[in-house]
Structures are given as structure tokens and as C-alpha cells.
């Protein structure tokens, strides 16, 4: 019994290690949660009035975030982009639960979509609306870092089946 237990210990430790998230996955998790908080706040404010929106910038006497959040670009076919961002972050977090190449590819794909659309919205903020919303910039930064991390995670993973 004792011998059997001792003999199985290294394999058991290995299995435990493989279940433990890597540093890369942990970093993705943390940044995705920050992004989720950001998107949740903007979604909450969208549905509960922009008056409570905390913002550093000013634009025509009101906050620059109000300008951005009340612009036509704040909605995509009637759906607040903040809500779409929230859904995207949840999808990324769920992809971390899917093991294997499929989960990593899904995580990278979701992040790439978020990054691309966020880049477009940032362009609109700077060149069309001419006002910056710090919360949107925060999400754009999160998505940029997440794109790198999920890309590395996808490309670095062991392609060989276990």
C-alpha cells in the first residue's frame, strides 16, 4: 500500500501541475477581470444615467465621457457597445475553462474581435468625436495586452496531443 502510494506520487503531482493555471493564463484572467469591471461599470452607467459617470476629462463644459457615451458610436444597432464589451470579456473568461487548442483559439479570437472594434472606437473618439473617455481607453489598453497574451498562449501551447 505504502509502496503503491509512493510510486504514484510523482504522477499525481504532475496531474495537479497540469490543472494549475500557468502564469500566462493567470495574467489573462486578471486583466480580463479588470476589463470586465470596466465594461460592467459603463454598462451600469448607461442604463442608470450618465450623471454618475466618473470622468477626468471635460468637453464643452460637461465630461468628455458623457460626450463619448452619448454619441452615436456608443451603440451598435441599438445595443450599447459597453454591453457588447461586457459579453466579450465574459466569453474570454469562459474560454479559459475550455481545455486544449480550441479554448486557446477561441480566447484569441474573441480578444482579436474586441481589440479590432476597440481600435475603431478609439479612432472615432480621437478624430470624429474629439473627446476621450478614460474608461474606453482603459478597456482598449486591457484588450491590447490581452491580445498579446492570448496570442502567445495560443502559439506557444503544445500542439501535440497528450
Amino acid at each position: 500500500m505504502t509502496t503503491a502510494t509512493r510510486a504514484s506520487t510523482p504522477a499525481g503531482l504532475e496531474a495537479a501541475d497540469s490543472r494549475r493555471p500557468s502564469t500566462l493564463t493567470l495574467a489573462i484572467l486578471i486583466i480580463a477581470v479588470i476589463g470586465l469591471g470596466d465594461a460592467s461599470y459603463l454598462t451600469y452607467v448607461h442604463y442608470n444615467g450618465l450623471q454618475g459617470l466618473i470622468c477626468l476629462g471635460a468637453h464643452h463644459g460637461h465630461s468628455s465621457c458623457e460626450t463619448v457615451q452619448s454619441s452615436v458610436y456608443s451603440k451598435l444597432d441599438g445595443v450599447p457597445v459597453a454591453l457588447l464589451g461586457l459579453i466579450g470579456y465574459v466569453a474570454l473568461l469562459l474560454s479559459l475553462l475550455v481545455r486544449g487548442e480550441l479554448g486557446r483559439a477561441a480566447g484569441f479570437g474573441v480578444t482579436l474581435i474586441g481589440f479590432g472594434f476597440s481600435a475603431y472606437l478609439t479612432y472615432r473618439e480621437i478624430f470624429t468625436i474629439k473627446a476621450i473617455c478614460e474608461w474606453c481607453v482603459g478597456s482598449a489598453v486591457c484588450l491590447t495586452v490581452l491580445l498579446i497574451l492570448t496570442g502567445v498562449r495560443f502559439l506557444r501551447s503544445d500542439p501535440l496531443p497528450a
Binding site: H46, N48, G49, L50, Q51, A58, H59, H60, G61, H62, S63, E66, T67, Q69, S70, S71, V72, Y73, K75, L76, D77, E101, A105, F108, G109, L112, I113, G116, F117, Y120, R124, T128, I129, K130, F154, L155, P159, L160
Partner: protein, 270 residues
Amino acid sequence: MASRKEQKEQARARRLAEEQAAVAHAARRRRMQMLGGVVLAAVVVIAVAIAISSGGSSGSSGPVTGAKATATEKLVDNELAGIPQSGTTLGNPKAPITMVYFGDLECPVCAAFTTGADDGGLPQLIDNQVKQGKVKVEYRSFCTATCNDESQSVFNTQQVAAYAAGLQDRFWNYAELFYHEQGAEGSGYVTPTFLDNLASQVPGLSISKWQTDRQDPDLLSQVESDEATAVKDGLTGTPTVIAEGPKGSDPAQEGIPPYSELVSMINTVQ
């Protein structure tokens, strides 16, 4: 010289290495294909999202027609039905409280305040106070978004167009339609066609009189006078709402005042 057994082992090791390399190569190829697929799918989704977003923003760059225009007209008509208008004033001229509203027709935050989006309080104020004859709203022009993104000349043209509708007591119909059908800030959507189309949506407006009135120099003077007042009073943004009543005036409120804030301002001055 290697023995026969060693040669066999070497050959086996070579074969194994080649097999492993082939498996790794196939796996790499599969992953690259997957990467290509993911990138392609993401690009398609982003392109569709941008097309919808850009379409939405340019949707107001031309005349709004069809069901959308009809729905907006109906909404504005219902909101203003039965409320007296005179020039840029909405409501009973004898109402004890006046809400002075400094706005820019291209300002998206003014649009939110006027249409009730993002909890903007004007529609509720109209329903609960203006219709009862307790409060009247006076609109004044202050160039903010338009001057930032376009020019004073564009601002004067659009504000005068609305004031010209005011000469037929339909300023508020015109201004509300403008805010409802506003395009993206700075996109240059305010064209002569856009202004004409708004006029055509105002019920009972004589278009020929409106066109003539737009040349009236007094209307331009009124816009300029509004601006001068805003600058003199130290206003910095739009919408700015000031309550005036028997007890004086409540300081300017900027941002998107919700209805509760407007009520509190009214209570202060009445």
C-alpha cells in the same frame, strides 16, 4: 565500426525522430490553419461591426425618410401637442418659472437632455410642468460642439433655420426633430438638404415662408445676442439650464440634468 545491433538501434532512432518531426510539422500546420481561420473570422466580424457603426452614424447625414421619419415626427408631435409656442419659448408665456436652456443643435449631450436619452430630464419636465402651465422653457443658442468641430458659420445657419421655424411658432418641433435625427458630431451632416428635410417634417410649417425667413437678419442677430449673453455669463458648455422664478435664479446646471435635478432647481426659485 558499429555492430549490427547498434546500426539497427540508430536506424530505429532516426525513424522515430522523423516520425516525431512529421507529427510536429502536421500539428504546426494544423495550428497555423486554425490561426488563419480565427483571424479571418475575427476580421469579418470586425468589418461587419464597423459597417453597422459607420452606417448608423451616417444614417442621419441625409434626409431621414420612411417609417423612421414618420415615427420621429409622431413622437415629437405627441410631446408638443397642445403646448403654446412663441419664438423659441415653449409653454404658457405667463408661467411663473422659466427654464433657460442654452444649447447647440449639433451637441450630442443636448440631444440626450432633449430626447430623454441617458436620463435627460427635458421630456419629463415638458410632460409634468410645461403642459400644466407651471414652467416655460426658453431656448438660447451657444456654439460649442459645432464650433469645435465645424464652424461658427454652420452654427449660425442651423440655429437660424430653427429660429425661422419659430417665426411660425414651430421652433420646438424643428429643434426636437434636429436632436432626434442628429448625426455624428463633426461629420458634416448638417447640409442644406438635412435642414430642408427637417422643415418638411414639421407639421403645418409653410416651407416657402420658412425659406424666406431664414434670410431675416434679425434671426442672426438673435443667435449672436444669445451667444454674447452666454459668454458674458461665463457659461462653458451645453446644455446649460438655468431656472428663473420669483425667488431669483438657480445657478447654471451643466451636463445632462435629470428630471429630479430640474425639479430641485424649480423648488429653489419658486
